[in-house]
Structure formats: structure tokens, C-alpha cells
């Protein structure tokens, strides 16, 4: 009985959270569409989001490219299909692995960063101070950060994809004596707009989800320093979960278009 009650309570809390998050998202769209626009802060945040994640995305992308190629190589050799390596790795990185891995890495970096930063600003009354000084803190802090994450993530994904392909080509160069030029030519021949466009659109949504959950958790932080830690932690968990939901929807929708 107690367990059932606990489950009902948790389910209720889950739906309340979803409702709150949806309202927060609606508020974002409303505030983003009305002047004044905080261009300077948007540029600053875009630089912060992009620049701070660059090294992490590059390192992860490079390792993913290396590992994917190293792990797949023996199987493809067994089937006499090693020449298909650039096509297979290229398509899988551009369509799925690149965007999802980059988004997951960024959710750890960006969503937790937003959660902790806004949470700490909330706890130390900096958000209240901003409001008292006549600034709309939602517009200044939240809208700029969500937009920055939405705009920067596709760029980071493209960058991560290129680094991953470079990692893969390095393995092919060392193990299969395939030149970089031949490798990249084969990859780009194999790719079509049908691979690039859905992946790019999906990346915008990933960025939006990361920015939204990070800001939501930070902005709604409860009082106290413990709240800041909880905000940063739950922002990452929530963003990562939502990324997979968005990915599923994106794959499902793009699959319909492929069939057409």
C-alpha cells in the first residue's frame, strides 16, 4: 500500500515537473519574441557555450572516431567489406553518433553549468537584484542562454563530426594505408542531404533541450547551497533523458520522410 502511494506521489510529481517545464518553455518563446533583445549577452553566452565545450567535443569526437573504426574493422575484414569502412563510419557519425554523443557531452557541460550558475545566482539573490534594478532576469539570463545553446550545438556537432571522421581516417591511414584524401572523398560521396539535414535540425532541438533544462533547474533552485548542487545534477539527468526522447522522435519523423 505504502509503495503504491509512493508511486502515485512520484507520478504526480513527474507530471507537475513536465507541466512546469512546458510553462517555462512557453515563457521562453514569449520573452524571446518580444523586445528589448539582449544581443550583447547572447553573443557573450554563445562564445561561452561554444568556446568552453570545444576541447571536450574535439577530444570525445576524436576518440569515438578511432574506437568506432578500430572495433568495426575486424568484422568488415572478415566479410571482405573493409572498403566500405568510410561509408559506414561516415554515415553513422553524421546521422546518429556525432549529434547524440556531442549532445550528451554538452548536456554534462552546459546544462550543469547553467543549472549551477543560475542556481547560485538565485540563492545569493543576484536574480532579485537584477529584477530590482529594472532588468527582466528571465530575458537577460534564461532567453540568452537557451538561444546560445540552441545556436551553438549544431556548430559543435559539425565540429565533433569532422574530428571523429579525422580520428577514423587516422586509423584507416595507419592500418589500411588509405590516404586522408581518399577517405574523406569516399565519406562525402556516401553522404546525402538526407543524412545532413535531419541531423542538423535534430542538433538545434538538442541544444534547445540542453539550454532549457539547465536554465529551468537553475532558475527554479530552492534556497540554500544544497539546492545549487541538486540543480546542476538534476539538470544533467533531465537533459540526458530528454535528449533520447527527442532523438527517438527525430529518427521516427525522419524515417517517415525517407520512406516518402
Amino acid at each position: 500500500m505504502a509503495m503504491a502511494l509512493e508511486m502515485i506521489k512520484k507520478t504526480k510529481e513527474f507530471f507537475i515537473e513536465i507541466g512546469d517545464l512546458s510553462y517555462f518553455a512557453l515563457r521562453f518563446f514569449k520573452q524571446a519574441a518580444t523586445p528589448p533583445f539582449e544581443f550583447k549577452e547572447l553573443l557573450k553566452q554563445s562564445y561561452q557555450v561554444g568556446n568552453r565545450s570545444l576541447l571536450l567535443v574535439a577530444t570525445t569526437g576524436f576518440i569515438i572516431g578511432l574506437v568506432l573504426t578500430l572495433q568495426t574493422r575486424p568484422t568488415l575484414i572478415e566479410f571482405g567489406a573493409v572498403s566500405w569502412m568510410p561509408n559506414m563510419v561516415g554515415i553513422s557519425i553524421v546521422r546518429e553518433v556525432g549529434p547524440v554523443i556531442t549532445a550528451l557531452i554538452c548536456s554534462g557541460k552546459i546544462a550543469s553549468g547553467f543549472g549551477a550558475e543560475l542556481g547560485s545566482m538565485r540563492v545569493t539573490e543576484q536574480i532579485d537584484a537584477m529584477e530590482v534594478s529594472g532588468t527582466n532576469p528571465f530575458k537577460y539570463l534564461v532567453v540568452t542562454r537557451i538561444l546560445a545553446a540552441t545556436l551553438m550545438l549544431p556548430l559543435l556537432v559539425v565540429f565533433g563530426d569532422l574530428i571523429a571522421l579525422f580520428g577514423s581516417s587516422l586509423v584507416e591511414f595507419m592500418k589500411g594505408n588509405v590516404s586522408f584524401r581518399l577517405y574523406f572523398n569516399t565519406v562525402f560521396d556516401a553522404l546525402s542531404y538526407g543524412d545532413l539535414i535531419p541531423a542538423t535540425i535534430k542538433s538545434f532541438f538538442f541544444g534547445f533541450v540542453i539550454g532549457l533544462t539547465g536554465c529551468y533547474k537553475g532558475y527554479k533552485t530552492g534556497r540554500g547551497t544544497a539546492g545549487v548542487g541538486i540543480a546542476a545534477n538534476t539538470a544533467v539527468v533531465m537533459a540526458s533523458l530528454l535528449l533520447f526522447v527527442v532523438d527517438f522522435i527525430a529518427v521516427f519523423v525522419s524515417d517517415i520522410f525517407y520512406e516518402l
Binding site: 547560485s120 539573490e125 532579485d128 537584484a129 537584477m130 529584477e131 530590482v132 534594478s133 529594472g134
Partner: protein, 260 residues
Amino acid sequence: MDVKENIAPLQKENTSEEIVVRIQDLYKSFGDNKVLNGFNMVLRKGENLVVMGKSGSGKSVMIKCLVGLMVPDRGVVEVLGEDIARLNQVDLDELRSDIGFLFQGSALYDSMTVRENLEFPMRRHRKKFEGVTDTLPLVQEALENVGLAHTMDLMPEELSGGMKRRIALARAIILKPKLILYDEPTSGLDPITAKEIIGLMRSIQKKYGTSALIITHDVDCARVISERMILLVDGINYAEGAYQELVTSSDPKINAFFKK
């Protein structure tokens, strides 16, 4: 000996009858926790009014209702002749340019230098500075008022607690407000720094002729700065009068505030 004892209590002078703040029957509760139960208050022009109460008695809630950071459940809050509840966001922001707010924890923006912290409210209230092309002299003046002109390019993390409080005071007066709200101005400070802050509060009031509402539970601060005091007990103004009147009262509830 307490260092604050060598400061003479402020003498009441030139206090006109013009009302700056009027609070009538203010009610605010959080769930079942009734914080304010019909609080009433009047602050006159040029007056220093201290509101004292135990922690959690609703002092900060009351001050936040004054600047529109919280919406009361019931009651009228009039600041500088304007009913806060009837103002739209633009008018509320306009009114806020006439109110300085010193937050309990200083609430300086971590990501900005001291200069940027002071310029932030100025950028938001450009109307007030029409014709001013260079904000530097104004920032310098505000910092000189608090004796910290050399800290202009420092980040908040490089400042001590007392310095942060002074910078926050400089930020509160940069818009030349008619009313300054102090939320626990001396809390968390050592007696010497607290004495300096009280001295600054007095010199600012003398220089700019502002009215001040001071929320505190520091009896020494109240003794030195107050012209009139309100004791907030159980969400109502339990007692009201000059420091000397209240300190000699035989009421046990009032006595509890002044017991060392």
C-alpha cells in the same frame, strides 16, 4: 565594550510629513505558514525606519513585497505614491529606479567587475541619465562615497565581505534613489565593519536626503540608525516607537528583542 556604542544615535531633523511608503493590512502566507497577518506601516520622507523581528518573522518578505519581488495575498503597498499592485511592468521598473536595495548577502553579480556591477542599473535606466555620455564619473562618485574608488576593476571574488557590502551600497545609490531599503545591512559582518557600514548609511542619508527602511535584528544597528522602530511579531506590527521608548518597555515580548 561594543564598538558601536561610541556612535551617537541619529537625531531626527527635517522630517516632513510626506509619505514615501504606506503598507496597509498586508497578508502573505506560504502554504499553511502565515508570515504576514495584516502588517501596517508608514515611512515618511527623510525618515530612517527600522523594522525588527526574529528570523523568519517575515521582514524580508515584507521588503520584497515593497519592490514587487513578491506578490502579497492581500493588502495595499504604496511606494512613492504608486500602488505596486496596479503598476504594469514598465511602470514598476520606472518606479524601481527611485528605490535602492541593499541585499543581505550583497548580491553583487559574480561575472561582472565592480564597475560593471555599478553600471548595470544605469544601463537599464537610461532615461534618468539622458545627456550623460560617460558613466565613469558617476561610478567613481558612488565608489568614493563608500571609500572604495580603487576597486573599480576588481571582480567580486577579490573583495572581502565588508567591501562587497560597501560596493552593494554604492550600487544601491548610483541611481540617486529617493528611498533605500536595507535588508540586514550588518549581518555577517564583524563589529568594526558593521560600524563602518552604519556610518556610511548615515552619511549617504545626509548627503542625498533619502528615506530609509532598515530590516534588521541587530539591536545596536537599530539603536544607532533608527528614528522610529517597528517590532514585527507574529506577522503584525506588535509595537512601534522610538528606540528609547521600546527599550524601556515592560512588555516581555518587547523586552525579548533587547535582551543581550
